[in-house]
C-alpha cells in the first residue's frame, strides 16, 4: 500500500470540509448536475432495472469463476501480441511499470485517468525514480498542478472552482502572455488542450486504466469523454494498462451490458463520447498505434474478499452514482474520506483494502438513508455492508470510549421496553416544547451535530404510539 491512508482523521477532516467555503460552493451543484441528469437518462430506458438485475447476476457469476476468466483473458492478450503482468501488491505493480519505462528509456509518460494508479501511488513512485508522469484528463491535470488527489471517481476536480483553476494555470503556464483572458471555462479548456497536445505527441509510454477487460478477446476497454485516453495510448511507443483483477468480463456482449449501465448511472448520459476496445499492439500494416501493449493487473487484497462478507463490493463498476446521491458526500466531499475511494463505495472498500483499523471510521459516516443502494447499477447492498463493518469495529473494540458508552446506555433502555417508551415520549415532549412546529438550531450536548444543520423538532407522537393506535383502529 503506497498511497498513505488518512482515513482515521475523518472527523477532523470533515470539520475542515464543512468550514471550507469554496468546497461547499462546489458541492452545492449536485442536485441539478449528476442527480437530475441520471434521473432523465434512466427515464429514457424502460429496461434499466432489468439490466441492473442481469448485471448483478453476471458479476456474481464472474466472481465465482474469476480464476478461469483471468486465465482466458491472459491467454487471449498473449495471443494478440500483448503481455499480462499480475501484481499481488501495489509495490509489485509500480515496479513492473517502472521496469517497462526504464527499458524504453522514457523520461515523460502520459497518463489517462486511473483510480488503480491512485491506489498504488504510481505518480509519486515514478517521480521519485526520475520519470515525469503527466495527467491528461482535464480534471486530473488540474489536480496534478495543485498537488492534490481526485475527490470524485469520474469528476476528479469537483472540489476546485473556476477561479482556482485560473490561478493555477497562470502560476504554471508561465510561457503564455500574463494578460490573457481566462474568464470562461472554455478558455481554460482551450489552454489545457494546447499544453497537452505537445505531451501526447512526444511521450514514449502512455498509461491508461481500464473500465473492463474482455476474456473472450483479450481486449481492454476505456471510456472517456475527452479523448485523452485514446491519444495517450495511440501516440506512445508502448501502451501500459493498469487495472485490477475484478474488472474482467467474459464476452463482448457482457461488456456491452455493463456499458449500457455505466455512463447512464454516473454522468447521466447514454454513453461517453469515446468507448475504446484495445487488443494488443500495432499490427503489420497499421499506420499508427503503440508498438508494445502491456496489462498490469493489481490484486491488492481483492482476492481475499472473494467468498467472504464483502464479496458483493467487488461487483462495483466505479460509476459514481452512490457518491452523487450520498448526503454525507454532499456535505464533506471526497478528500475527507482520507484515501483513494470515497462516498458509500469508498466506505465499504477502504476497510477491505487497508484494514478496519485504518478504515473503520468511514462506514460510520452514513445516515443509512439507503439512496446508494437504490441507485447502484449492480445492486450492491451498501448499507448492509457498512453495517457489517460497524459490527466488526465494535467486536474489535476499535471505537472511542464515548461511542461505546453511548451504545451501552442506549442498549440499557432498548432492553427495557416500558422504560424506553416512557423515556422517549418524555424526550419528545420536551423537544416539542422547545421546537414548536419547526427545527431546533441548538441542543445541549449536540453542538457537533447542530453546528451545520438544525435538529428537526418531533411532530406529535412517537412511532410506537402511532403504530399502536393504527393497530387498534383496524
Amino acid at each position: 500500500m503506497t498511497q498513505p491512508v488518512n482515513s482515521p482523521q475523518f472527523n477532523a477532516r470533515a470539520k475542515r470540509a464543512l468550514e471550507d467555503v469554496s468546497l461547499q460552493k462546489a458541492l452545492s451543484r449536485f442536485e441539478t448536475g449528476f442527480i437530475e441528469r441520471r434521473r432523465a437518462a434512466v427515464a429514457r430506458l424502460p429496461e434499466y432495472d432489468a439490466l441492473r438485475d442481469s448485471a448483478r447476476d453476471l458479476k456474481d457469476h464472474i466472481l465465482g469463476h474469476l480464476d478461469l476468466y483471468l486465465e482466458a483473458y491472459e491467454k487471449n492478450v498473449t495471443a494478440s501480441g500483448g503481455h499480462v503482468h499480475f501484481a499481488a501488491t501495489a509495490e509489485e505493480a509500480n515496479e513492473i511499470i517502472l521496469g517497462i519505462c526504464r527499458r524504453l528509456d522514457a523520461k515523460t509518460v502520459a497518463k489517462g485517468k486511473s483510480m488503480i494508479s491512485e491506489e498504488t501511488g504510481l505518480n509519486e513512485y515514478l517521480e521519485a525514480n526520475g520519470i515525469h508522469p503527466v495527467e491528461t484528463d482535464l480534471g486530473e491535470y488540474i489536480i496534478q498542478l495543485r498537488g492534490e488527489t481526485p475527490s470524485h471517481l469520474i469528476s476528479p476536480a469537483l472540489h476546485v472552482t473556476r477561479e482556482q483553476v485560473e490561478a493555477d494555470f497562470r502560476r504554471v503556464h508561465t510561457d503564455l502572455p500574463p494578460g490573457r483572458n481566462l474568464d470562461e471555462p472554455a478558455s481554460l479548456l482551450a489552454e489545457a488542450r494546447a499544453m497537452l497536445r505537445d505531451t501526447f505527441l512526444k511521450v514514449d509510454v502512455g498509461i491508461t486504466g481500464a473500465n473492463f477487460l474482455v476474456a473472450e478477446t483479450g481486449s481492454s476497454i476505456i471510456v472517456t469523454n475527452e479523448g485523452n485516453g485514446d491519444l495517450t495510448q495511440t501516440l506512445a511507443k508502448a501502451h501500459v494498462v493498469i487495472s485490477s483483477i475484478e474488472k474482467v468480463v467474459p464476452t463482448l456482449e457482457d461488456a456491452t451490458l455493463f456499458l449500457r449501465l455505466l455512463a447512464r448511472s454516473g454522468s447521466g448520459t447514454e454513453l461517453t463520447a469515446y468507448t475504446t476496445f484495445s487488443t494488443g499492439p500495432r499490427r503489420p500494416g497499421d499506420p499508427d498505434g503503440p508498438e508494445e501493449y502491456h496489462v498490469v493487473l493489481l490484486d491488492n487484497g481483492r482476492s481475499g474478499m472473494l467468498g467472504g462478507s464483502f464479496q458483493e463490493m467487488l461487483r462495483c463498476i466505479r460509476c459514481s452514482a452512490c457518491l452523487n446521491h450520498c448526503p454525507v458526500f454532499h456535505a464533506v466531499g471526497g478528500h475527507t474520506y482520507g484515501w483513494v475511494y470515497s462516498g458509500p463505495m469508498g466506505a465499504v472498500l477502504t476497510p477491505s483494502l487497508v484494514g478496519v483499523e485504518k478504515g473503520g471510521k468511514l462506514p460510520n459516516a452514513s445516515t443509512f438513508c439507503g439512496r446508494c443502494e437504490e441507485v447502484c447499477p449492480v445492486r450492491i447492498p451498501l448499507p448492509k455492508l457498512m453495517r457489517n463493518w460497524r459490527e466488526r469495529e465494535f467486536e474489535r473494540h476499535l471505537q472511542p470510549a464515548t461511542a461505546r458508552y453511548g451504545l451501552g446506555l442506549w442498549a440499557a433502555f432498548a432492553r427495557r421496553p416500558a422504560l424506553y417508551r416512557f423515556a422517549s415520549s418524555m424526550a419528545m415532549r420536551v423537544l416539542g416544547w422547545f421546537g414548536g412546529k419547526g427545527r431546533l438550531p441548538a441542543l445541549p450536548f449536540t453542538g457537533g451535530w447542530t453546528r451545520h444543520r438544525d435538529f428537526p423538532a418531533p411532530q406529535g407522537k412517537t412511532f410506537q404510539a402511532l403504530w399502536n393506535k393504527r393497530k387498534a383502529a383496524r
Partner: protein
C-alpha cells in the same frame, strides 16, 4: 509467493475451488464460446425502416451533426461546403479505405486531399465507419491502414461517412459483423465507439465541446453507396 502465483492461489483459496474442476471450466468455456446476448433494450431493436430516424435523433442528442446523401458522388461537395461554412482550410486527410478512394474528390478543384495517419497538423479528417448503432447514435470505427485511429482524434473536425445499411439497431449486431469479418476470438487492434465530439465537464460541471479530441463531429449518411 509473488505476482501471478500469489494472485491465483488466493483467489482459489478464497473461493474454495481447485483448478481442475471440470464443471467450472465447462461453464466458462461455454460462455466464452457461445457469447450469448444479454437483454437488448427495445430501443435497440427497431425495424430497419425506423433506425435512420432514431440514429439521427441520438446523434443530435450527442451534439453531432449529420446530413443524408443519395450517393458517393455527393460527398465532395458536402465536405467542401462544411469546410467553407466554418472558414477552414480546404484540405482533408483520409486513410486507404477503398471506398474513399473511389469518391470523385477532383470535382472540388480547390480541395486538397492527402492520405495517411494524422500527425496533429490537420484541421479536418474523413473516415469511413464500419457500422453505426441507432440505440445511442454511435459510430463504430476499426483501426488499420484503411481508417487510421489518429484521424479519429487529432484533427479538430472529424467527418465520418457511413452507409445507411450499416446502421444497426444495437451494439450486438455490430459485434456479430466484426466476428464475421475477423473470425471468432479475433479483434482489430482498436474498435472505437464514437458518440458525439470530444467534451469535458471537469470545470464546475460546465459541459464544453472540444476537450482533447475533435471539437466537431459531422456524419455523412449515404443511402445508396452503389
Amino acid at each position: 509467493m509473488k505476482g501471478r502465483d500469489a494472485v491465483f492461489a488466493t483467489i482459489r483459496k478464497s473461493l474454495a475451488v481447485s483448478d481442475d474442476d471440470r464443471l467450472r471450466r465447462e461453464t466458462v468455456e461455454a460462455r466464452l464460446g457461445k457469447h450469448p446476448r444479454n437483454l437488448v433494450p427495445s430501443r435497440g431493436q427497431k425495424p430497419a425502416g425506423e433506425r435512420l430516424e432514431l440514429f439521427k435523433q441520438m446523434l443530435d442528442m450527442a451534439k453531432a451533426s449529420c446530413t443524408i446523401l443519395g450517393g458517393h458522388e455527393e460527398i465532395p461537395a458536402e465536405v467542401a461546403a462544411y469546410l467553407r461554412a466554418r472558414n477552414l482550410p480546404h484540405a482533408i486527410r483520409h486513410g486507404e479505405d477503398a471506398r474513399l478512394a473511389l469518391i470523385p474528390w477532383a470535382r472540388e478543384a480547390a480541395l486538397e486531399v492527402t492520405k495517411g495517419a494524422s500527425d496533429g497538423k490537420q484541421f479536418a479528417s474523413v473516415s469511413y465507419a464500419f457500422g453505426g448503432v441507432a440505440e445511442t447514435g454511435t459510430l463504430v470505427m476499426l483501426s488499420g491502414a484503411d481508417n487510421p485511429t489518429t484521424l479519429n482524434f487529432l484533427p479538430d473536425h472529424h467527418l465520418v461517412v457511413i452507409d445507411e445499411r450499416d446502421i444497426a439497431g444495437d451494439y450486438e449486431s455490430v459485434w456479430d459483423r466484426i466476428r464475421e469479418r475477423f473470425g471468432e476470438l479475433k479483434m482489430p487492434r482498436v474498435v472505437n465507439w464514437i458518440t458525439g465530439p470530444s467534451r469535458s465537464g471537469d470545470i464546475e460541471q460546465t459541459h464544453l465541446l472540444g476537450a482533447h479530441g475533435p471539437r466537431s463531429l459531422h456524419v455523412l449518411i449515404v443511402r445508396r453507396p452503389g
